[in-house]
């Protein structure tokens, strides 16, 4: 457990609390539990996506296609729902997850078997996925009135005081903590990203591990696809356009090293929450929402600079050895 609360995560949590305190000083309404729950609910999709991206980044890869994956699966389930309202929503969600996983696996196979650099693969699939949405939908929108009531209601349904959307995010966080800290695969993510050569020596298949990371990230993007489309009750080609970089930014702010092997579930969640707090606080404190982009940009740069300082190679520490031995 104490592994979860390493200094990086604590510090970020402190920054978020400080941010909340500053806002609360002038606008106490913002920190009321109901509003904080809203902020969390609003950030749920970003959290789920950041968890997926985290796995990929841990293995020293990157997935630029997550938002396009989300849009493609979102459009697919929306069109299915519009065409055949009879399909039960749980089945649609399962389909979304499966389709997302398949798209992620396509990325993974190209990285694993064809050995194309991940950034090139996902840059390509990003445009391909978006293009497919256009071909599929003919550029048309699926609007709220074309979706069934059940389709739209699921993420909003309150359950024990929180909407289902929030519960899905909480469940995913819990699941990911278990996967990352308690399964061999989760540990393999760290090994593959931290020291790929050494990972081979310990019998870990680097390519297969990366494939798994991409597939899981894809599945989470697929789930987010349904959540996004049903929550905003609209689907079109450009939904979540440019969101791929927000996801990466959330991870980076959360202390996940782009060089692989460093990061935690807590960090990814806090990174996403930081985004959520800033985005929701701006209108409250009467700052134009147009400030949001610049603030997140500044936060990314500060976070990277801070992480780099912490990660800096310490050398071999020959002298310290001697003192320790003496």
């Amino acid at each position: 457990m104490q592994k979860l609360l390493k200094s990086r995560e604590l510090l970020l949590a402190a920054v978020i609390v400080l941010l909340l305190a500053v806002i609360a000083w002038r606008f106490p309404g913002f920190v009321r539990p109901r509003n904080l729950a809203n902020v969390f609910n609003d950030t749920s999709i970003l959290i789920i996506l950041a968890l997926g991206q985290m796995m990929v980044i841990l293995t020293r890869c990157i997935d630029l296609s997550m938002a396009a994956n989300l849009a493609l699966t979102g459009m697919t389930v929306a069109m299915l729902n519009a065409a055949m309202p009879g399909i039960p929503v749980p089945l649609l969600i399962a389909l979304g997850i499966l389709l997302g996983a398949a798209l992620g696996a396509f990325n993974g196979i190209l990285v694993w078997k064809v050995e194309i650099p991940p950034i090139v693969v996902t840059l390509g699939t990003l445009t391909i996925f978006r293009g497919i949405i256009f071909v599929m939908s003919g550029g048309a929108w699926i609007n709220a009135h074309q979706m069934s009531a059940a389709f739209k209601a699921f993420p909003r349904t309150p359950l024990l005081g929180l909407p289902v959307l929030s519960w899905v995010a909480l469940f995913m966080i819990a699941l990911m903590v278990v996967v990352i800290t308690r399964t061999p695969l989760g540990r393999a993510f760290y090994a593959v990203g931290g020291n790929p050569t050494a990972a081979v020596y310990t019998g870990i298949d680097v390519g297969r591990t990366r494939f798994a990371a991409f597939t899981f990230a894809g599945a989470l993007a697929g789930l987010s696809g349904y959540l996004w489309v049903s929550r905003y009750a609209v689907a079109y080609v450009d939904i979540a356009g440019g969101f791929e970089l927000d996801i990466i930014a959330a991870c980076v702010i959360g202390g996940i090293s782009i060089a692989g092997g460093i990061g935690s579930v807590g960090g990814a969640v806090l990174g996403a929450l930081f985004f959520g707090v800033v985005k929701n606080a701006l209108p409250v404190i009467n700052i134009s929402p147009f400030w949001q982009l610049a603030i997140s940009g500044g936060a990314i740069i500060l976070a990277v600079a801070f992480n780099a300082r912490a990660e800096r190679k310490k050398g071999r520490l020959i002298l310290r050895n001697r003192e320790a031995a003496a």
Partner: protein, 519 residues
């Protein structure tokens, strides 16, 4: 001549079983341009330590990688308890009961000590999840067994290099293995830790494990090994019982000729100091360094791996910044902040990590040679290829480089030829001081002799050389003067006359001599 000794004769520790637990026969392995192993054999017996000796590049590491499933042999058979097996992955080798302490640390900075020890075979609890509590308990037990006082819950990155090495050893012993491979396990350890490792080896022997022990230290081999196998240039050139051989015989087998011949050091008149270093300190890597390098001199730096020699040299070359101290070149104080500045001052560095820091694979040979000299071969910033080829031809032919053409990618050359390209690159800058860090590590014997001969030529021409080397014969053969470093400090300075291997080893390990009180 393969002198196959009969087992079940006299043995120091205990009588080995008649049947080898592991037998390799006719193993060959080639890489593009290199034949790393050709038809080697090796047998390991239970309760027996077999020393695998050979020079760097003889094929020992390749064999270890084949035994641990990293490489697949091109031909040959591996028999485990009489049954023919193969190890497609590292996992299969572990499952077959083979574990290894690798030369490079195969560890992960971001994981805890316990996770490092149990990565890939962690104890599982309910639902197949990793049982952390049990893993930490087991890790403590394994660490205790090897006498290491390390908290299993601490992150690996917070440990020093010796502790990391102990974790690597603990990792190897955390699996139930019949065969334990130790690839230079004592290279980074202190005297006390080495003694504990020897005790551990004895215990493993008593448990009936077969141990393959790779080492460059002869005293060590004669102390703990029962049998030996010698590799030279990828071939098995001898095997037998340690009790039936001696130091000289092993060396002869290893190098294939008497030792004196490979070091053609000529006597050169030593002149005035060229480089003076005093009060040189680094926050974490070295302290209190002071020495002089004279005109026409070869100054050897000996020490164990991790004694701070490379770190010191890289600071002199401007790669890392020292915290305190002065460097004088020809009497003039020089503050060197970057390699570019060092090169301008006439100091060049041939690094130990040839692939990473020396040759630039991907660039052709001639471009590698001219890289630091581009200001001379270009005019107003524009390249002149004819000049570049001329310069490259001049220096590579001097070093007897073997290559198809000068526009070949340097990455396609053998280790020895890459090293020649790196040296040619530096000679083309007309340096005053050339620092050679493990100049012959991992290169074939022919190139080795060429490098040594060339060093003699250079000092005869008035250059001064600092040679960092862990190979005692090389240090003894080539140096006019030797400085021994231990744990970041100078542990002794010796002139060529009357210097012997034992003095070096003692100083480097901190036993006897000027440091007698340390045990």
């Amino acid at each position: 001549m393969l002198q196959q000794a009969q087992p079940a004769t006299v043995n120091k520790a205990q009588t080995p079983a008649n049947e080898p637990v592991l037998a390799l026969s006719g193993i060959s392995k080639s890489f593009p341009g290199v034949r790393a192993l050709s038809g080697v054999s090796l047998e390991l017996y239970p309760g027996t330590v077999t020393a695998l000796v050979g020079e760097n590049g003889a094929g020992k590491s390749t064999l270890v990688k084949i035994l641990t499933g990293i490489y697949q042999p091109d031909e040959g058979a591996i028999r485990l308890g009489g049954e023919e097996v193969s190890f497609p992955t590292a996992y299969d080798a572990t499952q077959a009961g083979i574990t290894a302490i690798h030369q490079e640390t195969v560890l992960f900075d971001e994981l805890s000590v316990a996770e490092n020890i149990y990565l890939g075979h962690a104890p599982r609890g309910r639902l197949g999840l990793i049982d952390r509590a049990r893993m930490n308990r087991d890790a403590s037990a394994v660490l205790k067994r090897i006498g290491a006082a390390i908290d299993p819950d601490v992150r690996l990155r917070d440990l020093g290099i010796a502790s990391k090495h102990l974790v690597a050893i603990a990792r190897a012993l955390s699996v139930e293995a019949r065969i334990v491979i130790m690839d230079e396990p004592t290279a980074a350890l202190s005297y006390k830790e080495i003694e504990e490792l020897y005790a551990l080896v004895e215990r493993l022997k008593a448990e009936g494990k077969a141990i393959l022990f790779i080492s460059h230290k002869f005293d060590e081999i004669f102390r703990i090994a029962d049998r030996y196998t010698v590799f030279r240039d990828g071939e098995c050139v001898g095997a037998g019982l340690i009790s039936e051989t001696d130091h000289d015989a092993l060396v002869r087998l290893m190098v294939g000729r008497p030792v004196g011949q490979i070091f053609p050091k000529r006597d050169v008149e030593i002149g005035q100091p060229v480089l003076t270093v005093s009060g040189y300190n680094h926050p974490t890597e070295f302290a209190d360094i002071g020495f002089e390098l004279k005109h026409g001199e070869i100054l050897g730096f000996y020490g164990l791996v991790g004694a701070g020699r490379s770190e010191l040299m890289q600071a002199l070359f401007g790669v890392t910044r020292p915290s305190r101290g002065a460097v004088r070149i020809g009497g003039e104080v020089a503050v060197i902040r970057s390699p570019a500045e060092a090169i301008r001052r006439g100091i060049v560095y041939v690094p130990e990590e040839r692939g990473r820091q020396g040759a630039i694979a991907g660039l052709p040979i001639f471009q590698n040679v001219t890289l630091p000299s581009l200001s001379r071969t270009s005019r107003r910033g524009f390249l002149r290829l004819a000049e570049e080829f001329k310069l490259a031809r001049q220096y590579t032919s001097r070093l007897d480089l073997r290559a198809a053409s000068l526009d070949r990618d340097v990455g396609t050359l053998s280790g020895g030829n890459q090293q020649k390209v790196v040296i040619a690159k530096w000679l083309a800058t007309h340096p005053k001081v050339i620092i050679l860090d493990e100049p012959t590590k991992g290169i074939d014997i022919g190139s080795k002799a060429a490098v040594h001969e060339f060093m003699s030529e250079l000092v005869a021409e008035g250059l001064s050389i600092i040679m960092v080397s862990s190979e005692i014969p090389e240090v003894l053969g080539m140096s006019d003067r030797v400085i021994v470093m231990r744990e970041g400090r100078i542990a002794g300075e010796y002139t060529r006359e009357g210097l012997d291997a034992e003095m070096l080893v003692r100083a480097a390990a901190g036993i006897g001599g000027n440091d007698a009180n340390r045990k």
